[in-house]
């Protein structure tokens, strides 16, 4: 043990060991520093030790979480884990996190409009959300209800955050070929990954439950506070184990692609659930005064938050209800049992990750409906080409879906939320006779997001095709892409909403729906004109917020204006028909000659090679500190770093 301690040194775990001044980043021509080498001078013996090694021990104190972990070294060793190696892997992982593009809150930032682009900043968001737990905790001593509800919220938040932001850590494949090919046991690696994730989860839950913990200490005393903290800790462990098991099950039956899809959809569902959840928080306080009586039911045994409610009820309120006693025992026992089982099964977990590397099925040879439609909706051959290209690109792009599908979800849900809101105090008959169907304009809200996102791609490096192939007509590129976006993203949502609205409001609104559709198309053109034009799928996804999100807010007023105009038109005889005529004319102009004219004025035949070099190189390859604040000529802020699936963490020690 002591010998191993010596081997695994504590050295390079400072956040940034070398000041950038003495360690210049590689310049544009990375191959340049090449000294003439002679074969004779090679060999591991002839090493000349360089004296000017920067002192590495000086920052050591800045990294404390790991020394905290050292107290439990014995525990890990007993579980068959090589603790010094695990510690070294963790140190390297945290070091790397400190350099990555962080977006733990980023996945929600687009939706909720919060600019948390650092992990620590995102903790504030969790802390703020944690405030809504305070009333739940302090409102009484009905722990069965209060604690269960609070824990339910915490569990949901933590589990979804784990799946959406930290899956990449658990499923990292590089670890296999880099670490497992070295003399490291699989369980040591899995343990390192687990602790890595646990570190973040504890910080998130710390922020999320912090306010309510303090409130709990004050309101219910120390016993409550300590029990609360203790249970939260074990909940975190349980969440990790459950997630790992979920992955194991999915991997058992499906391949890695399927698992990635499932994670993707969970992420999307999370973003939607969060935004919709905000709408209901206000209402929650309306029934806070209600005295909720607890009635046991069998399914409550399946809900860990209820177990925790029970343990509070039993320990602090002295309940001797046998059902609650059993649940309390579950709360105390299951997480421990789960962790023990997980420790046993850690080898299996690493092994099953092998399946992630296997390629999926062959795919089908069908060209799909988009291929046939491209001829119908596009005028030129080139336009049809880019229409199909865009359709194919967004079909499989998970990062694109992650950023865009939530707004599709809002478009589907918000009209109903607003209709429900407006329903208060009026009858169903009044609603169906009213004009709340105009909330269908909410679908237009997705347009700015789509336009903002269509320039990004994880395979942005493929964009050299714009430069290498004789693409002459930029208007065709953009128009084809825009049409594909409309067809793939707007049309399905719009059709679905229209169908539901036709059932609710009757066929009298058919004309209005048509007007709304063309209004939305027009709005797309307006957004396109306002936002800067970059080649589709040519830039890496960026972390945090886009500089242009500033333009999003005024654009949403455009949606309101459109809806208002439509409302006004319905008050005038033949107003809707007139609006349709105007909108059709404008559409024809803006999608037709106006489109080309606008593009010609905005893009004076871009030097594609230069453009691509600019949009691809500087950002992703060099250290992000330098490029962070550069802006290109059109005020478009260069995305400073690329955001891959695994680039979601930020660690400040």
């Amino acid at each position: 043990m002591t010998e191993e301690k010596k081997i695994i040194s504590d050295v390079p775990m400072v956040t940034d060991p070398q000041p950038s001044a003495e360690a210049p980043e590689v310049s544009e021509s990375p191959e340049s520093p090449k000294s003439p080498e002679s074969p004779e001078s090679l060999g591991s013996q002839g090493v000349s030790p360089d004296a000017d090694t920067p002192p590495l021990h000086k920052h050591k104190k800045t990294f404390s979480p790991l020394s905290l972990l050292d107290r439990f070294a014995g525990l890990f060793t007993r579980a068959g884990i090589d603790y010094p190696v695990m510690r070294r892997i963790l140190a390297i992982k945290f070091l790397m996190d400190g350099r990555k593009a962080p977006s733990v809150a980023g996945s929600q930032s687009g939706a909720a409009g919060k600019s948390g682009n650092q992990f620590l900043k995102s903790l504030w968001v969790y802390g703020l959300m944690g405030i809504i737990l305070i009333p739940l905790i302090i409102m009484g001593r009905n722990f069965m209800f209060q604690v269960s509800a609070a824990m339910g919220i915490v569990l949901f938040m933590v589990m979804t955050s784990l799946i959406s932001d930290f899956s990449s850590v658990l499923l990292d494949l590089r670890d296999r070929s880099i670490v497992l090919t070295r003399p490291v046991e699989g369980r040591t690696l899995t343990a390192a990954k687990t602790i890595h994730v646990l570190g973040y989860l504890l910080m998130i839950t710390g922020a999320l439950t912090g306010p309510s913990v303090i409130a709990g200490f004050i309101r219910h005393g120390a016993a409550f506070g300590f029990l609360y903290v203790w249970m939260i800790f074990w909940m975190d462990l349980l969440v990790i184990v459950l997630t790992a098991m979920l992955y194991l099950v999915v991997l058992r039956f499906f391949d890695g692609e399927k698992l990635r899809d499932i994670i993707n959809y969970i992420q999307i569902a999370l973003s939607i659930a969060m935004a919709v959840g905000y709408q209901f928080v206000g209402r929650m306080f309306q029934f806070v005064d209600l005295e909720v009586t607890f009635q046991t039911a069998w399914w409550q045994f399946l809900l860990p938050p209820v177990w925790i409610g029970a343990i509070f009820e039993v320990l602090l309120n002295g309940s001797r209800d046998p059902v609650l006693m059993v649940m309390a025992a579950l709360a105390a026992g299951v997480p421990v049992l789960a962790v023990v089982l997980y420790a046993q099964g850690m080898r299996t977990f690493e092994r099953s990750l092998e399946k992630l590397e296997q390629r999926g099925s062959k795919g089908s040879a069908r060209l799909g409906i988009g291929h046939r439609l491209s001829g119908l909706v596009c005028r030129t051959h080139e336009e049809a080409l880019f229409f199909r290209f865009a359709l194919n690109m967004i079909k499989t792009e998970r990062d694109f879906k992650l950023r865009v599908y939530p707004s599709l979800g809002f478009s589907l849900i918000f009209p109903f939320i607003f209709i429900l809101n407006s329903m208060q105090g009026s009858t169903w008959a009044e609603v169906t006779a009213g004009k709340s169907y105009l909330f269908i304009y909410f679908t237009a809200m997705m347009m700015p997001t789509i336009l903002l996102m269509m320039k990004y791609s994880t395979s942005h490096k493929g964009a050299w095709i714009y430069a290498a192939t004789p693409v002459g007509d930029m208007a065709a590129v953009y128009r084809g892409t825009l049409k594909a976006m409309m067809l793939r993203l707007l049309v399905p949502v719009f059709l679905l909403l229209s169908a539901v609205f036709l059932v609710i409001y009757g066929t009298r609104i058919a004309l209005d729906l048509v007007v709304a559709f063309f209004g939305t198309m027009l709005f797309l053109m307006v957004c396109f004109r306002v936002l800067s034009k970059r080649l589709p799928f040519s830039e890496p996804f960026i972390a945090g917020r886009n500089a242009e999100s500033g333009k999003m807010f005024p654009l949403t007023f455009g949606v309101g204006a459109l809806g208002g105009l439509h409302y006004g038109a319905t008050l005038v005889p033949y107003g809707t028909l007139g609006l349709l005529a105007v909108s059709l004319l404008l559409n024809v102009y803006m999608w037709g000659p106006g489109f080309r004219r606008h593009l010609a004025s905005r893009i004076e035949r871009v030097d594609l090679t230069r453009y691509l070099a600019e949009s691809q190189s500087g950002k992703s390859s060099l250290g992000h500190e330098e490029s962070e604040d550069k802006s290109s000529a059109d005020g478009h802020r260069k995305p400073p770093f690329k955001l891959g699936r695994s680039d979601r963490l930020k660690w400040r020690g």
Binding site: S9, E31, L42, L622
Partner: protein, 268 residues
């Protein structure tokens, strides 16, 4: 066949079989390797080369047959045997947001070296590979060749007995290729065993002491280049490879390709 009994065997595969679901990837591979041997391990895509290497590295379990490395059956051996193995993966995986120094010392320590020892060796090697100026730079900015050099250094840093190299020359410039070739010779002279996987037949032909050709999960040839030449009456390893893997339609295929690109289209 041409299996040679080598004086000091460091690696033995006996009837190695592996299935992925219903797909049989290895159908009974028997192989021995001795000290100081450079084995060119070749075969068409999907022949099972990287599966074999992954099994030997302990990345894949669930195989049947035995794998002995340095006299130990790796199934029961724990991970200690990996201390004596160096590996250059084909996928060129590395933690590229680390600096070369951070990465190499990390790998060295995983192999059980001290930080100081790993740092000193890594610094010396990086200098010899012409990367001295970027030792403290993050590898995100490295070119493919520079990354490959780092991977090579990571594989030899701990002075291993056995090296598994998968396309180790990929991305290297001509001068660096020469260094690596010389280095492989030197390593072999020092008694190291090298498993050299590549699709570039000319290089395999020149540097390998023995060539093992895997096709469809079987070893279809195993011997020196001279052995293979006399047995197969072909002049180059490339030709032998074609012959043994039953591929002789290259000129026909090339002609068909020409036909297609010049517009003699198939009817859709």
């Amino acid at each position: 066949m041409l299996t040679q009994a080598t004086p000091q065997t460091v690696l033995t595969l006996k009837n190695l079989k592996m299935n992925f679901g219903a797909k049989e990837v290895l159908k009974g591979v028997d192989l021995e390797a001795g000290r100081g041997e450079i084995i060119g391990y070749i075969g068409p895509n999907g022949a099972g080369k990287s599966t074999t290497v992954k099994i030997m590295l302990g990345l894949i379990e669930g195989y049947s047959g035995t794998v002995e490395i340095l006299g130990e059956d790796i199934r029961n051996a724990g991970v200690g045997y990996k201390r004596h193995i160096g590996y250059v993966p084909e996928t060129a995986d590395l933690y590229d947001n680390l600096t070369a120094r951070e990465y190499l010392t990390f790998i060295g320590e995983l192999y059980g070296m001290t930080f100081e020892d790993a740092d000193q060796k890594a610094q010396g090697l990086i200098e010899l590979f012409g990367l001295k100026d970027v030792y403290n730079s993050r590898m995100t900015s490295f070119s493919k060749g520079m990354r490959q050099k780092v991977l090579l250094i990571a594989s030899i840093l701990h002075d291993p007995e056995i090296l598994f190299l998968d396309e180790p020359l990929s991305g290297l410039d001509a001068n660096s290729v020469m260094i690596v070739k010389e280095l492989l010779e030197a390593l072999a002279r020092a008694g190291k065993t090298i498993f050299y996987s590549s699709h570039i037949m000319d290089v395999v032909e020149k540097i390998s002491h023995r060539i093992v050709l895997l096709d469809g999960g079987h070893i279809v040839a195993n011997g020196t280049f001279e052995d293979l030449k006399t047995l197969n009456h072909e002049g180059s390893l490339e030709a032998i490879f074609n012959q043994l893997t039953g591929f002789d339609t290259q000129s026909k295929t090339a002609n068909q390709i020409m036909q297609i690109i010049q517009g003699v289209t198939r009817d859709d």
